[in-house]
């Protein structure tokens, strides 16, 4: 039985396979679920089950965001059900369920996890030296401090940083401003 399957997105311009989708979304979905479950193993289990559903209806999706949104929504229900069937219902779990049930809170968690995922992916793509420079810089270290920490010259530090930002800029791209329209 062949498991992987492929769909065509963006009016025939892009091929997207189930495995690719799994690789892109599985980790962040686990992190999202973990926020409410505080147990990464259970989180992985629930996300696994949700992906089986995604696989079943993979052909019906039209864009990547559509898949992701479907995943977040079904994961939300799966987590609520899991928490509800937990033997010990205490105030703490009650609170988690209510958090998930509330749309604004749920969507805030989507923003949080999505942002973290974009940042992580962007930095992960960088070559090792640039990655270190950026990570140290994000920790608040100055160029001099980074140079000392990494045992490289100040100029090299600056070059790494400049190259890293060039790549980060291109990987994050320009965002078409839709928000102002959405907020009216």
């Amino acid at each position: 039985m062949k498991i992987d399957k492929e769909i065509i997105l963006n009016q025939g311009k892009e091929k997207y396979s189930y495995n690719q989708c799994f690789a892109e979304v599985f980790p962040i979905a686990c992190s999202f679920a973990n926020k409410f479950l505080d147990d990464l193993e259970i989180a992985k289990d629930l996300v696994q089950d949700t992906f089986v559903i995604i696989w079943d209806r993979f052909e019906s999706f039209e864009c990547k965001n559509h898949i992701k949104s479907y995943l977040y929504k079904s994961l939300r229900n799966t987590i609520i059900n899991h928490l509800k069937h937990n033997e010990v219902i205490n105030k703490y779990i009650d609170n988690k369920i209510n958090n998930l049930r509330s749309d604004p809170t749920f969507l805030d968690y989507v923003i949080e996890q999505e942002t973290h995922h974009i940042i992580y992916n962007a930095i992960e793509q960088l070559p090792e030296n640039q990655k270190r420079v950026i990570n140290l810089s994000l920790m608040g270290l100055s160029n001099e401090e980074i140079a000392a920490e990494m045992n490289i010259s100040l100029n090299t530090t600056k070059t790494h940083k400049a190259r890293a930002y060039k790549q980060l800029k291109s990987s994050l791209g320009n965002i078409y401003s839709i928000l102002l329209i959405l907020l009216k």
Partner: protein, 392 residues
Amino acid sequence: METQYHISKLIAKYYLNTISKEEEKELRYWKNSNKANEKLLNRVLDEKNLSNTVEILRSIELFKELDVNHQKISEKYIKRINYFKWTSYAAAILLLFVGITYLIYELSGNSQEYLINQLSENYKPGMNKSLLIDESGKTIALNKELSIISGDSSLSIQNISNALKYTSTKANSKLEGIRMKDVYHTLIIPTGGEHFLELSDGTKIWLNSESKIKYPKFMYGKSRMIELEGEAYFEVAENKNKPFFVKTKGVNIKVLGTAFNVSAYHNEDHITTTLVDGKVSISSYNDQMTLEPGYQSVYRKDKFEKLKVDTEYFTEWKNGTFRFKRINLFELTNKLSRWYGVQFFFDKEELKNIKFTGAVQKNKPLGNILKTLKETKHIKYKVSGNSVLIMK
């Protein structure tokens, strides 16, 4: 959630110092528009929070998880399909014991026949139940009367015995014009089963054993797209605005209001489409043809062949009779295994090609037809468990 994705991107760019003036303005606007947004921004950019997420993302072993996932998918889907095979094996093993006991006690009697009769008794129609998989992936065994009404009460789904019916309860005119996304249901017919299905547009479909059909629940789309594996007889409700398509593995059929039979079993090397009434056009990746009533298209090895046929031979199964005219023994035994749940084995390859003509009542035990086949003097057979060995 497009807004959420957009904001996430802005915040990420802001964090990585790659945000443009315009984008920063937009983010500031979002932040200032609501106290909660500001709080959220701080939470998202909190170093400890971010590094917690990063740590989790790093810890996921993707390849391992992907393996686990493929395992889960195949377990779930193969289980669904094979469940019925396993139960029939179990029944066969049980029967083997019954048969052996019987042989010991009545060695002189006609034990083989008894065994066949016993065996087929267990594969009586209606013994194995069809399965319905709804849009959420939930599996419903159609073993009792079932009645579901869709959330917006625009559709009712009813199953009585082996007939499943979708009825649109609201006037169609209300739904026309509103392009709503449709969802799909799947109906799986096990070995020894058959099911009648009426779709919400009035199309009637008779499904044969070991078939699987996927169809739109509401029929909202511009066209009516059906996927079929196995065999089905269609009476398509005419609707000029919504063409009806049947997709099988290898062949696509475009229907122009009509009655026809499609047989597309994965374990057979050909797909046949038999047209009783109306008009269909059939295409594969490399070829296409149009059929007139009384004609059949056979798709084999990437090629179409058009034959003039007596359509009754290909549609009578839905009325409880197998009728066959000059068909291979192999093809005949395939039909019998799907209905009676037994496996056929051939002592010599050439036996598969012996041609037979005749008719069998589907509600009769398997023994009857085996006896009839033997009477032609072309073959002999031996039964053990749920296997039948065909010999010269």
